[in-house]
Symmetry: C2
Subunit: 272 residues, 2 copies
């Protein structure tokens, strides 16, 4: 992440945000990571590890691969390291670094992994091209991003969509793109990757799946929207009453007859 963006990282760096990301990884781990495994001895760069929400999963699933996880925030690195240590993992090395000024030689890694990072960058293709240079020929890149425009639910609610749009707009103002998931394919192609293959990872939630109702709809997605209330109102994007109505309607989708849908996208490609 660029320095400018780290200052305006739309989700913030608060403890509650850490908790949200952990909940997110916890409930979505299979959906997002079930098909990611690196062979023993391979070297993997995790670019933008944040507080390590994905790092623990990655390192656990590929115990004999060696991970180098970087993030622009020293505080995040500290927390990520704590988590990895707490999980008893010894195959992760952390470094504080800017994705646009990485301290690695060209063709240093067998694989690159990027999750929930491009959405915050004003130059995602530039970042992908930089990461491509760090890959050995034949190496792979894996990119996972959400797409807030993939959100729909029952009962439908214009107010809830308006609240979600505030998040999209705040992220746009910060130089990011909350609708980036659907764009992974063209972005990865533009960055020069070969054999780009994107697959959707849809989270479907109804009341027969109570752990998703609580873990995803309530504590991940709606909590994220609730978290931008003050910023959205301060920027004049929405009236407080409208925002609160939207959040109420998001909570409404967690009732017995409610349904909530969100889709992540996962792209895998190789460097020729």
């Amino acid at each position: 992440m660029s320095k400018r963006l780290s200052e305006t990282y739309v989700h913030g760096y608060h403890p509650r945000e850490n908790e949200r990301l952990q909940d997110q990884a916890g409930t979505l781990v299979d959906l997002l990571h079930c098909d990611t495994a690196y062979t023993g001895g391979s070297t993997v760069l995790e670019a933008g590890c944040g507080v390590g929400a994905q790092t623990v999963t990655l390192a656990q699933r590929s115990p004999d691969a060696r991970f180098t996880s970087i993030d622009i925030s020293a505080d995040s690195i500290t927390e990520a390291k704590r988590r990895v240590d707490a999980a008893g993992l010894t195959n992760v090395e952390f470094r504080q670094a800017d994705i646009f000024a990485l301290p690695f030689d060209a063709e240093s890694f067998d694989h690159v992994f990027v999750c929930f990072v491009l959405e915050h960058l004003s130059r995602p293709v530039g970042a992908l091209a930089i990461l491509s240079r760090l890959l050995k020929p034949g190496g792979t890149i894996t990119v996972i991003e959400g797409d807030h425009g993939s959100t729909y639910f029952h009962p439908d609610s214009p107010a809830a969509h308006a609240a979600i749009k505030c998040q999209v707009e705040l992220q746009r103002e910060a130089g990011g793109n909350a609708l980036i998931g659907r764009q992974l394919y063209p972005l990865m192609v533009e960055a020069g990757f070969d054999a780009v293959r994107v697959s959707p990872r849809m989270v479907y939630v109804d009341s027969s799946r109570p752990e998703l109702v609580d873990g995803f709809t309530r504590k991940t997605f709606t909590a994220m929207i609730e978290g931008i209330r003050d910023s959205a109102i301060a920027r004049g994007l929405i009236e407080p009453e409208s925002f609160d109505a939207g959040v109420r309607d998001l909570h409404r989708t967690t009732e017995a007859d409610g349904v909530f849908c969100y889709t992540f996208f996962k792209g895998v490609a190789t460097k020729e």
Copy 2:
């Protein structure tokens, strides 16, 4: 969109089986029907068979089950029978009947199958309750519906969304619900079914999947929207220029950097 779907050769993706399906040519038929099979000797009511688009698939996949396919339209029944005969199938019996006045005794069938029908009914729960009565205890119902509100794409386009909204509105004026897919779970629960399980069937299209670009984005979805141009304009739902711009933008998503997403929902439940 029911008539076109089965004729369309496309790839399909299940949320948890992305990798397998990515490497395997398939059809939209596979995406929707791969997990539907009835045991030999069981009796299945297909309610609302239309021109037999799904009937042929059903009967082929369960050659030893006996199907009774009904539709309110005699012309549709004639065409459905022609298709089933052309496919050499002998396990389907057709009857012209209204789903709200079916000429069958209670508990006549082992299973009921309903595809792209509820979206056109003003009383979908009433229809489901009627179908439930025809089921033997322990029998299953399978329901498949689309959801036009699940449509999003790259490049994004307000004009394209406005054109799609015309379809939603026309269907609503006709007493139907083009956003019914996401509601399958609560509708089936409300109708009294037990063990309701709904799964999304997302169609993800980028230019690495040219059969889907042509077969789904262009010839299925965009063609469906193009087909309501005159009605939408006649009803005053949209200006001709806006509609045409929307259709152009839908076609734009079929270019090399375009992406198109749509989700069907499949619900399966049992009668206690």
